[in-house]
Structure formats: C-alpha cells, structure tokens
Amino acid sequence: MSEKHWKSVVSQSVCDYFFEAQEKAADVENVPPVISTPHHYLISIYRDKLFFVSVIQTEVPPLFVIEFLHRVADTFQDYFGECSEAAIKDNVVIVYELLEEMLDNGFPLATESNILKELIKPPTILRSVVNSITGSSNVGDTLPTGQLSNIPWRRAGVKYTNNEAYFDVVEEIDAIIDKSGSTVFAEIQGVIDACIKLSGMPDLSLSFMNPRLLDDVSFHPCIRFKRWESERVLSFIPPDGNFRLISYRVSSQNLVAIPVYVKHSISFKENSSCGRFDITIGPKQNMGKTIEGITVTVHMPKVVLNMNLTPTQGSYTFDPVTKVLTWDVGKITPQKLPSLKGLVNLQSGAPKPEENPSLNIQFKIQQLAISGLKVNRLDMYGEKYKPFKGVKYVTKAGKFQVRT
C-alpha cells in the first residue's frame, strides 16, 4: 500500500470504508467504484489485480477521477513494463516523482507520457549504473517544450536513423450468438494503433479507401478534427512512439460477418451425477483467411466436479476450483473440424444446473479487417526524408459469446 497526499493530509483510516466494501462484495469486480463515507468520497479503479483508490472531498465529475487513475496506471505500465504490486514497490521513488508531476492540488498537470519522460526518465539498468557513478539524476531540469505548445504530445528534437511509421488496424467482433446459432447482437469495434519513429516534426495524413464505414470515432488529441469532418482524412502531427490513433465503431446497421460457428450439445441428466459435453467449431464467413489462435473459455456451473474430455485438436484444462474450462484449439483446418467431447461429473445429489454455460470464444484472423476498412495511403509533409511505412490488419474476437 502506498499513499500520496495533495491538499491536506487525510488519515489512513478512511480506507477502512473501502476494505469494508471490498469484503462485502463477493467478487472484486463488484466493488462499487464510488463509495461515500461520512466526510470523504472514495473513487477506485481495479486494474491488473490492484486497486487504485482516490479520496475526494468535494464534488467532482467521477469520470474525471476514474479517467485520471487509469492514466496513472497506464503511465506506470509504460515506465515499469508492468503495473504490478512489485513494480510499484520497487520504484516507489519514481512513482512519487511521477505523481508529483501528474497532479497538483487535485488538478492534472502532465499526463502525456512524452512529456513525463522528459521530466523523469524511465528506469533502465544502464542508467542506474551510470547515475551511481556520475551522480547525475533521472530528473530533467528544463521544462519540456511540449508542455508549452499546442502539441503537448510530441517532444522536440526527435531523431532516428531509420524513420518508420507502422499502423496496426485491429478490429474486434463483439457478438452474442443465441442457442440456435443466430446472431442476437454483433458489432465491430476497431482501433488503429500506431508506432511512429520519425525524426523532426512530421505532419502525416492517413486516408482510407472507405472512410464512411467508420460510424463513430474517437481520436487521439493530435488529430485535426476539422480535416476529418470535411474530408474524412486523418491529419496529425504524431506523438513519438506507440500510441492509439483512433478507436472506432462500425455502424451496427451493417451486417457483421461472423467468422466462426459453434455446434454444441451440453446436457445434464436429471438425477444422475453426469452430463454430456460436446462442442465443435467451424469456419463460417472467414473471407478465405485462416482462423487461428482459437480458445474457448467456459464458466461451468458450480455443481460440476470434474470433466473428462477428449479434444481432436489442441489441449484443454479444467480448474475444479474456479470451474473454468479452457480449450486451446489453435488453427481451424476446414477438412477436420476441431471438437471437444466427453463427460461431465456433477456433485451427486445436487440439482442439475438450470442453465447451460455460455461459451466465450477468442480467435484471430491475420491480414483481414473484417469490416472491410482499408488504408488508402499515408503522406508525410514537413520533413524531407522518405519514411518506411507499413499497415497491418488483424481481426480478433472481442466479447464474443455463444449462449447454449
């Protein structure tokens, strides 16, 4: 546990309210994000098995706090490679220095990682060795130029020998498929993640073959909104490094192609301590691409004791404590569809489960954006050199659930 105070100091005992709420909620997922105590309000987020709690004295939009806490967690992730208890404990001083720069009297100061990295250098083994010899420090002593300009996300004086710009178009299919295999709900959520390593102040514009597909888009602050409104072109001076350029949703009016189908028969016999489990996965509308990385996760009912299954492909595990069945399938070969069959052992005497569990499916299709979105071209202005450009498409299952 670590604490940092702004404004006046608040006693630790305020956390007791939080722990109380945490105990009351059976599952960590169910701890309410906003808790009211007699004098303070607690707003918390749960991430990477850690709770980040902030203590609030007065009215403030709760999303403001939640969004900021997530940004803090993102920054830790960025600095330490992981956002875990150990990482925070090991770097407690940097954590403190970061928080000091990120927040002043309850108002965020610098949240862009490009700026923070100029103020406080991320820890590396090499640097700590050098520092201990030369006595220099991790803390920069000039104000990052970004902080003053209209483009706070980019640091000045970036230099690379190889100038590269990569874009990953990642689309996730969120779907609920009902018992009979018809789609109850489906939509496509996409993001474009960029990795930009370009010297100087490049000004990029990215255009699409079919920009109208993008129904609802949210932008990184670097994107010029007006250009998008008028021409449907993404025009921006990029931050340095990795960042999320846009996230978008494809209009739900369009029909969403569902790349896989699942045939399932799960049954529990009345008054007997066993049941049958049989699922088969096959490709549906996969646009001629291979579907890979398939995993099926099933939260079995509580009365299930154990499962004896045989997969025709891949391997499966069943955790008798959490009752989670995971089947790692791998690729689908259309000639021989993967299936998983076998028996389910139930607790004897207990009534048979009311409902069959739903199947959560993960998969991946390389080189395909399922919505049909295509990047047309990327142009760079403002710098003389020719950058290396690349675009990659991936389709994944998002919250893909099959009810049985």
Partner: protein, 1043 residues
C-alpha cells in the same frame, strides 16, 4: 479476493521499531546494508548522517528512503531539520524529493518549515521557468498560515509571469491559498479575474478550476471571457476541457432562455436532419416560433460538439451533460452514440456512463432506442453492470420491442448469477405494468417461474406477482390457488408473507382455500419468521371478518399464540387485532368498522425506476452517482424567464481585434504577433492561389475535363479563381465517387478559427465592410443576421481554406510550405508552432456530409417468386445506407425465404451477366436454409449511375435461377446536406443534362410540404434543402441527375 497491494497492516502510521526494520529491506535503497539496523533510533541517526554528508549520492539515497517511508504512511517527521537543510541543494532530484517531504510535513513543523521559505523566494526569481513553477507549487502547498502574505505576493507576481506554465501554476496556487485562508477571497478573485483574461490554452483550464472553487457565484467574471473560452475550448488540454464545460453549462443555464418548448412537435419530424444540417434546423426554428437562440448559446453548443469524439471519457461525458442540459431537445440525440461508445471501456467508466444513461432514458426514451442491443447483458459482466443495463432495457421497453426484450429476459432469468436473475424478475414486473399489452404474457411467464428450482427466483416471482395482482383487481383465482400450493414448499419469508397477504386480500374469491391455508399456517406458526407471523395474523383477522363460521376458532388459536410470542411487535399486533375484531363490552366504536379497515381497497404499489428521482442532479456529477448532494455541489439553476442582457458578453473592439487574430493564443508580445499573423495570412493566400492554379493544371489530364472547364470559366467571372478551383475539385471528386457527394457549405460547421484566419482576406475582398463592427458579426453573430452581403462574404471565406487543403491532400510532389511547421527558420519558437498549428487546423470548412436517409421505404421488390424458384422466394429492397463493400455501390438487401418443407442448401450467386462497367459484390454463400426459414443478406451493386439491369443467377445446391435487379432511378441517389444557395448554384451548373421528371398528384387540400416530401422520398433517396420560398420545395436529386 485477489492478492492486491493493499495489505493493510498498520493504521496509526506511527514509527514502530519493528515496522521500520522491515521497511528498510523493502525500499529500494541501493545500499541495502542499512536494513540490518534494528533499532529505530539508530536508523534515523544514520539517515541524518547521510543527509549531512558532502556527497550528493548519499543524500539522494537517504531522501529516497525517506520518501519510501512517507509512501508507506510512516512518520518521518523527526528528520525534518536534517531534511530541510537540503532544500537549497544543487541536485535537482534531491531538491524535488525534499519538496515532497516538505509538503507532507510542513503543517506539523511550522517553525522549521519557515527556514525553507527564503530558498523558495529566491527560486521564484530563477530564470528557468520550470524552477519558478515548482517553487511556487511547493511554496503554495506548505500549509502554514504565517506565510499567507508571502504566498499572496508570489501568486500575484506569478500571475503576470511571461511563461504560461508559471501562470498555470499560479492558478493552482490560488485554490490552495483559498483553502488555507478563506479571508483572502477578495484579493484572489482579482487575480482570477486577471487570469481569466489570459489567452493561453494552458492557463484556461486551471483558472476556471480556481474560479469554480473560490467564487463560483461570480458569474459576472465570465461574461467578457465567454466567447474566448468557447473558442479556445478545442485546444485546451483534456482535463481543462472537462472543468470548463461544466462551468459553461451552469453559465448557460443562467444567461440564456430555455430552448425547450412545451410539447416539442418538431422533435420527431426533424430528427433526421439535426446533426447534418444545424443551420437548416435553426432556420426552421425561426420561422415557426418567436424563440430565437442567442448566438452565444449556439456558439457553445457548436464548439463543444467535436469534443464528443475525445478519447477521454470524462470529456465525452461532460459534453453529453452539456447537450442534455442546455441544447434544444432535438439536438441532444447526437450524444447517445458517443455515450454508447464509452461502454467499451473499463468497468468503472461503464458503471458511471450506464447510470447517466439510465437517468436520461427515463425522460427521453427515443434517444437510446436505436442502441437497445448495446445494452444486452453478457454473462461476463460484473453484477452491478448487469443490473444497470437491465434498468436501461426496462426504461427503453415499449410496445414495439417488448417481445424481443422478453425473449432476452428469459435468458437472463436462467442466469447463474442469482442476484441478477432476481433483478430480471422485477424488471419483467415493471414491463408488465408499463406496457399493458404484455401484462398477461408477463404474468404467465412469472407463474411459470414459480415452478423454478431455485428458491430465490421463486421468491422474487411471488413478490412481483403479488404486486401485479394488486394492480389488476381482476379475477386471478387460478394463480392464487397455484400460489397457495406453493406455501408447502417455499421457505423464503418474504415470499411466504406475500402469498399469505394475497390470500387474505382475496379471501372472498378463494373461499375454500383460504381457511385451509390458515389451518396449515396455524400449525407452523411458532416456527415461522416474524414477517410471516404478522401476515398469518392479518390473514386470520381478515378471515374472521368474512368467514367467521369456519375460522373463528382457528383465529383465536393464532391470537393466543401471538400473545405469548417473543417478539413485541407481534404481541402488539395481536393485542390490536383482538381488540378490533373480537367484539366485547370494552371495544369501542372502532370495531364496527373493522371490516372496512381490514378489507379496504389498498392502493397498488407503483413499480418505478430507482433512477426516477435522480434527474434533479446535474448529469455526470458525483452527486448524481451517489444520489445525494455531495459537498460543494453547485445547483444547476432553472432557465431564466427572460434572458439577461446579452451585450455583457460583447468585448470592446480593440480588445476584440487582438483576440481574434490567430496569434491570439500566442504567448508572444504584441508587435511580434501582428507581424507573424499578417505575414502568415499573406503567405497563406498567395500560397493557396498558386496551389489552386497548379491544381487545375494537374486536373486537366483527367477525364471529363471539358465540361468542367466550361463551368469554371463561367464562375471565374464572378468570384475569382480561387473558389472556382476549389469547387471544380470538389465536383470532380464527387464524380469520381459516382455518387452524389458534395461539400456541405454549412455555416454552422465552420469554426471561429476559419473566420479568424480568413477575415483579413474577406475584408480585402469586400472593402465596404472593413469596419470592426461587421468583423465581429462575421465571427460570432453572423447566424442571426441574414444580410446577403454577409452571406456572400461567408461563402468566399469558406472557399479559401478549401483550396488550401485540397492542395495538401492531393498533390504528392507538393513541396511548398504547406505545413508551416516545416519552416526552416531557426528562430521558430514553440509558440509560433502553436500558432501555425492553429492555422493549419483551420484549413478546413467544406464538409461533404452525407445526410442520413430521410425515409427508408419498406417497399420490397420480388427477385424470385416462390413458384418459379421451386419454393425458394427472394425479395429485395434498398436500405438506403452507404454500402459497406465500396463507395460506388448501392446496397441491396435480399431476403430469402424457404417455402418448401425441406432444407435448401448452398444458396449462392452463380454466373453474373452485367453490362459494361457494372460491378457486384455478392453475398457469402448460405449453407442451408431451414424449412419456413428466412434469411437476409446484403449485396453491393455498382450500377454505374444508370438504370441498367443487373442480371445474375441465384443458385441452390440443385438449381439455378436467373434473376435481375433493375434499380429505380431514385435509389441511385444519395442525399447530401447543403444550403439553398449552393443548391441553386449546382443546379444552374447542371441544367441541360439528364433529367428525370415525374408528376406528383396531390389534392389541393393536401398541398402541404410534408405530403409532397413524403411522396418524393418514397421514390427517391434524397434530402430536403431548406428553402426560402414556401411554395418551392427543392430536393437534391436535381443535382444528381447529371451524374
């Protein structure tokens, strides 16, 4: 519970020796040897020694360890004197850590803290702005009352600092000083007033935050800065945006009159237009009612709209609540899409957003109806999310969607999450009461649930059925009988009590069962729950009154049992009932009315949303989430009846001129500013004109050049070469798409920056209007005045930037200084970059906005009749949506029906016979279609803008059928939003080309615009152009006849 970092093991934060011993090993001190010291005393001695050493590295190690202690909540205050000495350290990291320490402990050690003050005072004069800023930050964080005057002085100086970063910190310091000493309020307000005038985007957010904290009621300070804040908003950092938007929402509610009218009739029929054509909407508003929106009100609504696409959930929510609270109801619809998008983010964001949607969906169902399915519950959602989603689904339920919803609810009822299942049952109950058509279905469904195996589900159903039956005083004898039987098996007290109450209430309708139930419960009375006992007593009393012959003895037996019960509530109730119903000499007048008292018609409980009473809190606030007023919550006032004087927001001319030059945002001093901005503008215009020339040159190689050049020749006579080139380009582009795209010359879309950057140009074109008065009009009040001159000016203004960005877009070998950032001037300051950046941003205003279809006819065409298709029937219709398969394609939806009694397998598109140039994107083969099943697939066909027939073969496993699709000309069109003026212009250019005409027959009495509109949109996918003349209705199809 996971192993999280909150292993909370000490509370007092005291420095117990053992704790500290462990401590040293866990902190990151590189010289880990110190962990060996076991005694508290010795350890701190050691730290002191290190702090006094000459080596920076030792000091740094010591400070790191001390910060580690602070982080753990341990007391390190006794090291204060040793630490404070290092405040003047040259090493910036040590310095920063000392600052951290000071801020934490200064309040406890006030005298010693004073030692450090002089260092800060010196640092405040440092040439490095970062050092000035952090000195101010720390100085103001030291909560020692004695230094208030020093702080005040420092803040005053810093608020006039040249660096906006220091001024930003000054704004933060204001709040800190205010919380330390509220007496300083007046002086602080003066500083706030000064900082509010600051033009830096960096300062805006922080100063508004200070304003909100110190003097939220001094709304008069905002007047003069209102327009500036609205215009800067997009460029302010995201956190500042949230604060400013919340403040402006409150401001708008006090300064403008309500845009909401009683019984807003416009809402429905204009819904389709509002987001694509605000201008038109506004015109319509003006024609139809006296209410005219204050241009400043409009400015705020318009300038916040782009922020709906922010990546920051808090910003999106802030804009959403602004639209909800101050925008006309018909325009608030655009926020729903963005809010639904937020549902993809983390659990906490979902929780808050869903709560707000729940409140909104009670009042305005229509807003979220299209997104109904986004609220479907997944089994992996957290319970609180599930319940909120359920709440929203209930609010959105109506006659049309209830059957789908009930099917969905059926799945939820079976959920393994029993709390959620129970909530679903309550939801079904609420749907049953709100939608009378389905109340019987719901009731039946609930009765079926009574035989569920899970007790919680059954109990919940009983409770809900009880409420439903109470609301419908009809005969439901069967259900009551069924429930009476349940008494034998069910054990949940609430449910048992509900059944007993129900039987008692209806004891005359079930005369045979009721006494029997009483007999059974009398037997088990002593072992029942208190809740049930009370209801047994009630049942007894009711039966005694109605059927005393059979139940007199039983009731008396129960009353006797109750008399000696352990619970005093039950003893009281027993005594009360006995006195009331059993006549004896002592009983008063009341017992005469006993029957009336017990069997009175009871009002039915209202099943309503728990979110019903939340709407009096401003959305998106903490108070709304908690449903109680949080400390510091600022009430949103009601709209004033009469708007306060709008002229208070006018800014004096001189100041205005300063403000609106693009360099307005700059941190540079005036002379520079003037120079840069002018030269920049000149550069811009010269650049763009030269571009447009080269542009038209490059264009000439392309097809269709001849008629275009004819057009441009015509135009050039009127308006010079720049706008014409831009238009030529736009037209060619729309041609290339093969569909009717056009730029939208919607003035509403144009942001203030456009007018800023081009105001110079426009005034040079129109010399007559170069006085400052008309300039201010063009910036902010233009929409209120429809002077033709001004309109002309506008269009010109819009054209100029257009040419510029066209050149940016299309010329690959373009190496002009199009991106100002590339200027090789070495003296390029960041602030200049910012300016140029701003200009660059403004280089857009032409909007090709395809408006949503006004109307989608449900008319289907037969593709394949079931007789000729051997049982396979196919129909198609045009959904009038942009096609996903390609820009040029028209989407066609085909519904396939299997009318045979066998499966039809492998339905696919076989050979295609298409005319030249035509293209088709076929649907994916359908594996099989069940008997009586139907499936809808979508295709895209590029008809090449002709009405030629697309012939292809529809094949099944066994047969092939030739079919063809011929599009009506109306379906090849695409509506775009544009103003009447542009429409006329385009129309003029296109006359003499393909024309399609038809006669619409309408009775004279039906000669209303809506009737004609209906007829036209029935045959063609067009939009309406706002027309100045009432008897002429223009539809954009005209434009596309040429295409």
């Amino acid at each position: 519970m996971s192993s999280n970092s909150f292993a909370y093991n000490e509370q007092s934060g005291g420095g117990e020796a053992t704790e500290l011993g462990q401590e040293a090993t866990s902190t990151i001190s590189p010289s880990g040897a110190f962990g060996l010291f076991s005694s508290d005393m010795k350890k701190n001695e050691d730290l002191k020694q290190m702090l006094e050493s000459n080596k920076d590295s030792a000091k740094l190690d010591a400070m790191k360890r001390i910060v580690g202690m602070i982080a753990k909540g341990k007391n390190a205050s006794e090291l204060f004197p040793a630490v404070v000495k290092n405040v003047a350290s040259k090493n910036i990291e040590i310095k920063k850590l000392v600052y951290v320490y000071l801020v934490r402990y200064a309040e406890e050690q006030q005298d010693l803290a004073l030692l450090s003050i002089s260092t800060f005072q010196r640092a405040l004069k440092d040439p490095n702005q970062l050092i000035r800023a952090s000195a101010l930050r720390v100085l103001s964080s030291i909560r020692v009352p004695i230094i208030v005057p020093i702080m005040m002085l420092a803040i005053k100086e810093a608020s006039a600092d040249l660096s906006p970063y220091v001024r930003k910190n000054a704004a933060h310091a204001i709040q800190k000083l205010y919380s330390l000493d509220p007496e300083q309020k007046e002086m602080l307000i003066e500083i706030i007033e000064k900082l509010l005038k600051d033009k830096s985007t960096l300062v805006a957010g922080s100063v508004v935050m200070a304003f909100e904290e110190v003097c939220p009621d001094r709304i008069d300070l905002i007047h003069k800065n209102y327009r500036k804040l609205c215009n800067l908003l997009v460029d302010v950092e995201e956190w500042g945006q949230v604060v400013i938007i919340h403040m402006l929402t409150r401001y708008a509610r006090t300064q403008f009159v309500s845009p909401w009218r009683q019984g807003d009739v416009l809402e429905d029929n204009e819904k389709d237009f509002y987001d694509s054509d605000e201008e038109q909407k506004e015109k319509a508003d003006k024609r139809k009612r006296p209410y005219a929106m204050d241009p400043d009100h409009r400015l705020l609504i318009r300038n916040t709209k782009p922020l709906l696409q922010s990546r920051n959930a808090a910003v999106v929510m802030a804009v959403a609540q602004l639209y909800w609270h101050i925008a006309p109801k018909s325009e608030a619809g655009i926020i729903s899409k963005s809010l639904v998008r937020l549902l993809r983010s983390s659990r906490e964001v979902q929780y808050i957003v869903l709560q707000n949607i729940a409140t909104m969906s009670i009042q305005r169902k229509g807003m979220f109806e299209p997104y109904l399915k986004s609220f479907y519950v997944r089994s992996t959602d957290a319970t609180m999310i599930k319940i909120l989603k359920l709440e929203i689904l209930t609010n959105l339920a109506n006659e049309a969607n209830i059957s789908t919803l009930l099917r969905e609810f059926q799945t939820y009822v079976k959920s393994q999450d029993k709390q959620f299942a129970a909530a679903t049952i309550q939801t079904i109950g609420r749907c049953a009461t709100s939608i009378t058509e389905v109340s019987d279905t719901c009731l039946n469904g609930l009765v079926c649930l009574l035989s569920n195996r899970d007790e919680i589900v059954v109990a919940e159903s009983v409770v809900v059925i009880k409420k439903l039956l109470q609301m419908q005083p009809m005969q439901h004898g069967e259900i009551i009988k069924h429930m009476a039987k349940l008494l034998d098996s069910i054990t949940v007290p609430v449910a048992r009590a509900s059944i007993l109450w129900l039987i008692g209430e209806n004891c005359e309708r079930v005369p045979k069962i009721a006494p029997d139930v009483l007999r059974k419960t009398a037997k088990s009375f002593t072992s029942e729950d208190d809740l049930v006992k009370l209801q047994i007593l009630n049942l007894g009393a009711k039966l005694y009154l109605t059927n005393s012959k059979q139940t007199k003895l039983l009731t008396q037996y129960i009353l006797n049992l109750g008399k000696y019960d352990q619970n005093y509530d039950i003893r009281d109730r027993t005594r009360f009932i006995r006195q009331l119903i059993v006549p004896n000499e002592k009983s008063g007048a009341l017992s005469k009315y006993a029957k009336k008292i017990f069997l009175a018609q009871k009002p039915a409980p209202l099943l309503e949303s728990p979110f019903k009473d939340r709407d009096h809190f401003q959305l998106g606030t903490l108070s709304h989430t908690l449903n109680t007023k949080a400390t510091g919550y600022l009430e949103l006032s009601n709209w004033p009846e009469v708007a306060p004087d709008p002229s208070v927001r006018n800014v004096e001319v001189i100041e205005l001129a300063k403000e609106w030059t693009p360099a307005g945002k700059a941190k540079k001093e005036n002379p520079d500013k003037k120079f840069y901005s002018e030269s920049e503008e000149e550069e811009d215009s010269s650049e763009s004109s030269s571009d447009s020339e080269s542009e038209s040159g490059s264009e000439s190689g392309e097809d269709e050049e001849d008629d275009r050049s004819g057009d441009s020749a015509e135009d050039s006579g009127e308006s010079g070469s720049e706008p014409e080139a831009g238009k030529g380009r736009a037209a060619t582009r729309s041609r290339a798409r093969g569909r009717g795209d056009s730029k939208d010359v919607d003035k509403e879309k144009e942001n203030s920056k456009t007018s800023e950057s081009s105001s110079g140009e426009s005034s040079s074109i129109e010399e007559s209007s170069s006085d400052s008065e008309s300039e201010s009009e063009s910036e902010s009040e233009s929409e209120s005045r429809k002077v033709t001159k001004e309109k002309e000016k506008k269009t010109k203004q819009e054209r100029n930037p257009l040419t510029k960005d066209v050149s940016l877009l299309d010329l690959d070998d373009f190496n002009l200084v199009s991106t100002p950032v590339a200027l090789p001037t070495p003296a390029l300051s960041p602030s200049l970059i910012a300016d140029l950046e701003g200009l660059n941003l403004s280089a857009t205003s032409s909007v090709i906005s395809v408006s949503t279809p006004v109307f989608v006819p449900g008319k289907t065409h037969v593709l394949l009749h079931r007789m000729s298709g051997k049982g396979l029937a196919a129909h198609y219709f045009f959904p009038r949506q942009p096609c996903i398969f390609g820009d040029k394609m028209v989407s066609v939806q085909i519904t396939l029906n299997n009318t045979t009694d066998q499966k039809i397998e492998n339905i696919h598109v076989g050979g295609k016979k298409l005319p030249m140039g035509m293209q088709m994107h076929v649907f994916n083969p359908i594996e099989s279609l069940e008997p009586a099943g139907s499936i809808t697939v979508s295709m895209g066909i590029d008809f090449c803008d002709s009405t030629q027939t697309a012939s292809f073969q529809l094949c099944t496993k066994d047969d092939c059928f030739s079919v063809n699709i011929q599009p009506p000309v109306g379906e090849l069109l695409l509506p775009v939003a544009m103003s009447e003026k542009d429409f006329k212009k385009e129309q003029g250019m296109l006359s003499g080309m393909n024309e399609t005409s038809t006669t619409i027959i309408a009775a004279p009495q039906n000669f209303a615009s809506s009737v004609i509109l209906q007829k036209i949109v029935n045959v063609a996918n067009v939009g309406v152009v706002p027309s100045g003349q009432d008897n002429i209705h223009r539809y954009e199809e005209l434009k596309f006849q040429a295409l």
